[in-house]
């Protein structure tokens, strides 16, 4: 995992810290870390606050003759969504999503792309205004990069905003396999009136990892098994850390196959930008849920308030892990003696769902219901007060008055008198 020092080195303009050709540690590099996302505040050396990619990293670069040089390596990676589910994915520089590219409007960038896959690929710089021949569309703007070859994309960043990159060669499969990343371009002129203290990059995706399998199924169009933020599912998604009163920006890109209404608890955020760049303040709007369309990005900004606030897709199936889509509804069905009879024929059978699905996590957590190999239970996660019964595109924004570096502050303790509590009876005159 990248540390703060590496991040600053990699992000600081003019600091030649990363040797070109410093490639991923291994083609099978693991991305199993589920640690807190390192927060980085703006420094005097930078005109912007470096972006933080939870569960990921920012790609280092070096300066050569005034050009920022990056190196992306397309390759197979061993990826873990959460403990218990690993797959053979494809990504960049050992991870999915690939490392975040970060630059400043007006920069000249030179991006080396090495193809270590067994099939051709390209990189399309999604939403960037650039010369036709740099757009990375196989067969249209260039010949696809054959396996084993390295090609260069070079262009000047004429815009700012939250962008993405992904293959445009065998695109359906390569994206389904996890090849994508964020490309953040900071404006050359910073908005001094709304200085960002914390800047996070989240990339949404969906995966068809059928129960018991180890490789994504690219042919699936709707019934996906896993819904991820930065290719992780809850509870393995690193929380976003901030301090009370800080201005936080959450950049969300969507390269999945569905739109995602991303809902944030605890605040009304401003929608301040997109892949079209940072919007004029007059165009900002207050929201608590913002739909991030397929192929779109949105910047959500807010002032942090103490608490552990969920940030999640509001399509409730997207906050679940693998689940059946054609199950009979068992709610309200008392199987009674029938359950015993079925168990007699199929030892281990247990009637489920008579009173809802909440019991599912209890059974799973108790460890007496074994599931298929390499498959996450539909719901999970333990909070301070019990099971959270979540999965998929769900994470937390943990805000404290004072953070201890990047360490997880633990569970938020509601101040006295600010938490829901139990009553013995409800006054009769309360209308219902």
């Amino acid at each position: 995992m990248i540390n703060r020092r590496q991040l600053l080195l990699g992000s600081a303009a003019g600091l030649v810290s990363a040797r070109l050709g410093s490639q991923s540690a291994s083609a099978q590099a693991s991305t199993s870390q589920a640690t807190q996302a390192p927060a980085a505040a703006a420094t005097n050396d930078l005109p912007y606050t470096p972006v933080v990619t939870p569960n990921g990293r920012t790609l280092p670069y070096r300066m050569r003759d005034g050009v920022k040089e990056f190196h992306l390596i397309a390759e197979e990676v061993d990826h873990e969504f959460a403990e218990g589910t690993r797959i053979k994915a494809w990504g960049y520089n050992g991870t999915t999503p690939g490392p975040t590219l970060e630059a400043v409007e007006g920069d000249r960038v030179r991006i080396y792309v090495t193809n270590r896959l067994q099939e051709p690929t390209t990189v399309h710089w999604h939403g960037l205004i650039l010369p036709f021949g740099m757009d990375g569309v196989a067969g249209l703007t260039q010949r696809a990069i054959p396996p084993g070859e390295s090609w260069v994309y070079e262009f000047t960043l004429n815009q700012h905003g939250t962008h993405m990159y992904h293959p445009h060669s065998d695109e359906m499969l390569q994206m389904a396999m996890g090849m994508m990343g964020m490309f953040i371009i900071h404006p050359r002129q910073q908005d001094s009136s709304h200085r960002i203290d914390r800047d996070f990059a989240l990339l949404l995706h969906n995966w068809a990892i059928h129960p018991g399998t180890y490789r994504p199924d690219p042919s699936v169009m709707t019934d996906f098994d896993l819904w991820t933020i930065n290719s992780k599912v809850f509870p393995a998604i690193a929380p976003l850390l901030a301090q009370t009163g800080e201005r936080v920006r959450v950049r969300i890109g969507n390269l999945s196959m569905m739109n995602h209404p991303m809902h944030m608890h605890g605040v009304q955020f401003d929608v301040t930008g997109s892949d079209g760049g940072r919007w004029p303040q007059a165009q900002w709007r207050k929201e608590v849920t913002e739909i991030i369309g397929v192929g779109q990005t949105r910047d959500l900004e807010f002032t942090a308030i103490a608490g552990d606030w969920p940030l999640h897709c509001h399509m409730s199936h997207h906050t679940m892990n693998a689940m059946g889509h054609e199950l009979p509804v068992t709610t309200g069905v008392n199987q009674g003696e029938l359950e015993r009879q079925i168990r007699q024929m199929i030892p281990g059978y247990m009637a489920m769902g008579e009173h809802g699905m909440s019991e599912h996590q209890a059974h799973i957590d108790a460890g007496h219901m074994r599931g298929p190999e390499n498959t996450l239970p539909m719901m999970g996660g333990q909070g301070a007060f019990g099971p959270m019964e979540m999965g998929g595109m769900f994470t937390l924004i943990k805000v404290r008055d004072q953070l201890d570096g990047n360490n997880d502050p633990g569970w938020f303790e509601p101040p006295q008198g600010t938490q829901a509590y139990r009553v013995n009876s409800v006054p009769e005159d309360v209308p219902v």
Partner: protein, 494 residues
């Protein structure tokens, strides 16, 4: 006593397949010494003196037959059809004795009185068939050959009858086994239908879907009822074959023996089918033991003797010599000899001998045709057995475990709400269907096995087993083999 000896001769080969006879039975008649030695060499169980497994039970207890050998032993004791076959040998025995006797001498007396005379003329004669005397050894041989024919015919009938008992026994066990499997399948379908009904009552399932599960359940229930009826019919057929009263209580195993309990391993069968010398040896043994072949050979032998007799008779049906004495009315006496024969003018017996020779030729052709048929039938049966062995082995060792694994994995998916309870129960039904296919294959196997044993006069299993030292000893062990029916389930309840 000839009848008893014959009965033993007929019964013993059948008991070889059972391995349940005793030495006391084998030592009753020296004319079966060669067979006794062969049988004891083939089946050590012949010395175990355990003929009584199917002994008559106490009045209040059910008769228990643990294997087909016991069924055959009981049939020997009870079956009217078998008693009839054995009784027919009493007739053959008597005919044989009769045929070996010399014709009684003839005696005649006459008295004549001349008209008006007081005196009588008397005449006495004593005659004896010379030809009968002369051909007695030949006639005895002929009678012996005809007796052997009758014995072979009876042996054929008895073998068929006992083979039929063996087949009917396996069919009855299989029908019970199949019925039980249908019961489980019907129960699984019932559980699905009941679950559908509960879901429908809760408003979670449409009537159309509920009726679908109900319909499947109804059809499975009908299949079970039919299987039950077939099991009852099979049991009735077995009782009839055993000669039992239809109301007599009878218990048989619930499950067919596993293929591994057969002496005919796949390796041995394959060897036999690929090695022409071994196959020829089995063929020789089969033809030497099959009653119909022996019948034809005995028949040919009898015809040969008949031909020899016809030659010795020189076409004469009879030659008689006699002693004659006369008393004339005047009191004088005259005595002398008499010769009585037919003159070979027209019928010299040539067509009779030609007919006998034609019969001989016909029998030779029949024997060749039969041996050819046996060759093909034997090969076909061995092929069938090998195929059934491989099918059953695959079902037992691969298909059923695969279905069990699929059920376990489906349960895991059910646990994680990836699949529903209907699919889980259907996975169980798939497993049950596979077990049913296994049972059907086992039934086909054991019926084919029974047929082969009958067809080869109980020589096949001993011979084929000798080709595979690892095979279990020949004999119809009836140990139910739960391996195929065993299920390995993951228990999720603490």
């Amino acid at each position: 006593m000839p009848f008893k000896a014959l009965a033993l001769f007929l019964v013993l080969p059948a008991l070889v397949s059972c391995g349940t006879t005793g030495t006391n039975l084998l030592s009753q008649d020296s004319q079966f010494d060669d067979m006794r030695q062969t049988l004891q060499q083939w089946s050590p169980a012949l010395n175990s003196n355990n003929l009584e497994p199917a002994a008559q039970p106490p009045d209040d207890a059910s008769l228990r037959l643990h294997n087909p050998a016991q069924a055959q032993a009981l049939a020997l004791r009870q079956s009217p059809a078998i008693r009839s076959i054995l009784a027919s040998q009493g007739i053959a025995d008597a005919d044989y004795r009769q045929a070996t006797l010399i014709q009684n001498p003839g005696f005649s007396a006459s008295a004549l009185r001349a008209e008006g005379s007081d005196s009588w003329k008397t005449e006495f004669s004593l005659t004896l068939g010379i030809l009968d005397w002369l051909t007695l050894p030949m006639r005895r041989q002929l009678a012996g050959a005809e007796h052997a024919q009758a014995r072979s015919r009876a042996f054929q009938l008895l073998t068929d009858e006992l083979g039929e008992v063996r087949s009917v026994y396996f069919a009855a066990v299989a029908a019970r086994h199949i019925s039980q499997q249908h019961q489980q399948t019907a129960e699984a379908a019932r559980l699905n239908a009941e679950l559908a009904a509960r879901l429908s009552e809760a408003g979670n399932l449409s009537e159309l879907e509920r009726l679908h599960y109900e319909d499947v359940s109804a059809r499975q229930r009908q299949a079970w009822q039919q299987a039950q009826a077939e099991a009852d019919a099979s049991m009735a057929a077995l009782k009839r074959g055993l000669g039992l009263d239809i109301a007599a209580p009878l218990e048989i195993p619930d499950q067919l023996p596993d293929i591994a309990d057969s002496a005919l391993s796949a390796g041995a069968l394959r060897t036999l089918l690929q090695d022409s010398e071994q196959f020829a040896m089995l063929l020789t043994r089969t033809t030497s033991q099959r009653p119909d072949v022996r019948f034809l050979r005995d028949n040919r032998s009898a015809l040969e003797r008949q031909l020899q007799l016809q030659r010795k008779q020189l076409g004469m049906s009879d030659i008689g010599v006699g002693l004659i004495t006369e008393r004339e009315p005047d009191g004088s006496r005259a005595s002398g000899f008499e010769l009585d024969l037919s003159l070979l003018v027209f019928d010299r017996g040539q067509h009779q001998r030609a007919s006998t020779r034609a019969h001989q030729a016909q029998l030779s052709a029949d024997e060749a045709a039969l041996e050819l048929a046996i060759t093909y039938q034997l090969q076909t049966s061995l092929n069938n057995l090998l195929s059934l062995t491989e099918q059953a082995t695959q079902l037992r060792d691969e298909d059923i475990p695969r279905q069990q694994r699929m059920l376990a994995l489906t349960l895991q998916e059910y646990n994680f709400m990836l699949t529903g309870p209907f699919e889980l129960i259907e996975a169980k039904q798939q497993e049950l269907d596979t077990v049913l296919r296994y049972i059907n294959t086992l039934e086909s196997y054991w019926l084919e096995h029974a047929w082969l044993m009958q067809y080869t006069a109980n020589t096949a299993d001993i011979f084929i087993a000798s080709l595979d030292s690892s095979a279990p000893p020949p004999g119809p062990a009836m140990n139910p083999t739960p391996r195929a029916a065993d299920t390995h389930q993951e228990h999720h309840h603490d």
